[in-house]
Symmetry: C2
Subunit: 257 residues, 2 copies
């Protein structure tokens, strides 16, 4: 029986990255796009609870290729798996994001959160990003996504999202593939303070800053910067297990009611 | 020198929970509220990048007690620490959330994400939630938040958010305090499909369902349900370290370019 993939992103249903992904993955599976109507970058794992989700069929040259949802990437995955896609989904692929998703910044990522949502719902998932905010060629990233999708189906890892980042360089210059941990680098924000015509203060977040620190090669940040494709297995158990025992002793003694 | 706390939430600046928190914590520290103008539940770690953040001073009986930000909880913490609060912040306290934040569902939580944002910015943080969506008495939760805030200042844990959940029962019936891991329970969603007056399909997420499975007493879900205050140390490194070596072997062999 053929495979069925749900393809989503956070750059919106009309982004070039998702089109490249759908085209390449369609060589192996039926691919249904369920993606946000408009760009949703930096929404993290937001879901929509206080208003309904409008949905329309998305067409290209008159042919339906999926659904546009007026919501977040996590909404798209929830609604796609629970309602829109007929039959079981074998894999959710999120991307190809315009801009890398590495280091601490992945917690802001709609692309990664869409994949996490899939895993919560019991469906394997892959997030794919390309490390550039400029116009780029998605070919190498799409090809690698196809390989990785096949790998995930052959090597099931319940509860795990595979987060892939591809450097924005010509395919032949890519220096290899590395399995790496999530790095600690984060963006150093600054706010641009302004005053509106009615004397109200407002602030623009300037999010295009550079990462805060150099990073080791065994992290996604470091390996990506060195021209490698990075693969990081992530999950959504945030517990600091290493602290549990010590904290248990100190808290349960110190704070007894 | 006195301590300075930034107090935030995701239920909005006028929520009762944040007022209770500010009142109780003010016994130990100067407390500046920086909170969303309107309720932001389930926004997760969303930040606002495509529009500016409007800010106004928030007053009660004519006295300024903080700032209302037309943004998300993570926005409030970023902007509060970087711009609004004068001088260093010793602790960010987020809450008291109306509704528990335990199990997998913490990844949707604006309350927890606000605390995570603080930790990313290098400031210790505490998230506090009370396990009820009905009108509740915040006294016990606020008192425990005060104890926990003092504990965190005495026991610095860089990079760690302390996630506290308090059962919604009278203080004298609370069965104790437990340090526990994040549970695996999640809400089982369903969507309510409707048709608008112009024949467009839309869906309401029904998020009030019950957790999916019974949970052990050593998880936040299980201990909270048994009437205990739960404390869970969490962080934002999502790496599945236990999989790195095996994946490295399998991927780097199998996918070599």
């Amino acid at each position: 029986m053929g495979k069925r993939f749900l393809v989503t992103n956070d750059d919106g249903i009309n982004a070039r990255g998702i089109a490249a992904l759908q085209q390449e993955l369609s060589r192996d599976a039926e691919c249904i796009v369920v993606a946000p109507e408009v760009e949703q970058s930096a929404v993290g794992h937001a879901i929509t609870v206080f208003r309904p989700l409008m949905v329309r069929k998305a067409r290209k040259n008159g042919i339906v290729f999926g659904y546009a949802v007026a919501g977040t990437p996590a909404d798209c995955v929830k609604l796609g798996i629970c309602e829109l896609v007929e039959g079981p989904v074998d894999l959710v692929v999120s991307g190809i994001n315009h801009g890398g998703n590495v280091g601490i910044n992945i917690i802001y990522s709609g692309t990664v959160s869409a994949a996490t949502e899939a895993v919560i719902l019991g469906v394997p998932a892959l997030a794919v990003s390309i490390d550039s905010h400029k116009e780029v060629d998605y070919t190498a990233a799409a090809r690698f996504a196809r390989k990785m999708a096949a790998f995930i189906l052959e090597n099931p890892m319940p509860g795990v999202v595979i987060n892939v980042n591809v450097p924005a360089i010509p395919e032949e210059e890519i220096k290899g593939v590395r399995v790496v941990r999530q790095g600690g680098a984060r963006m150093i924000e600054r706010f641009d303070k302004r005053v509106d015509p009615r004397d109200n203060v407002y602030y623009w977040l300037d999010g295009e800053s550079t990462p805060s620190a150099p990073e080791e090669e065994d992290t996604d940040v470091g390996a990506l910067r060195r021209g490698m494709i990075t693969i990081t297995p992530i999950h959504c158990d945030l517990t600091r297990y290493d602290l549990l025992d010590d904290l248990k002793k100190r808290v349960e003694d110190g704070l007894k009611r």
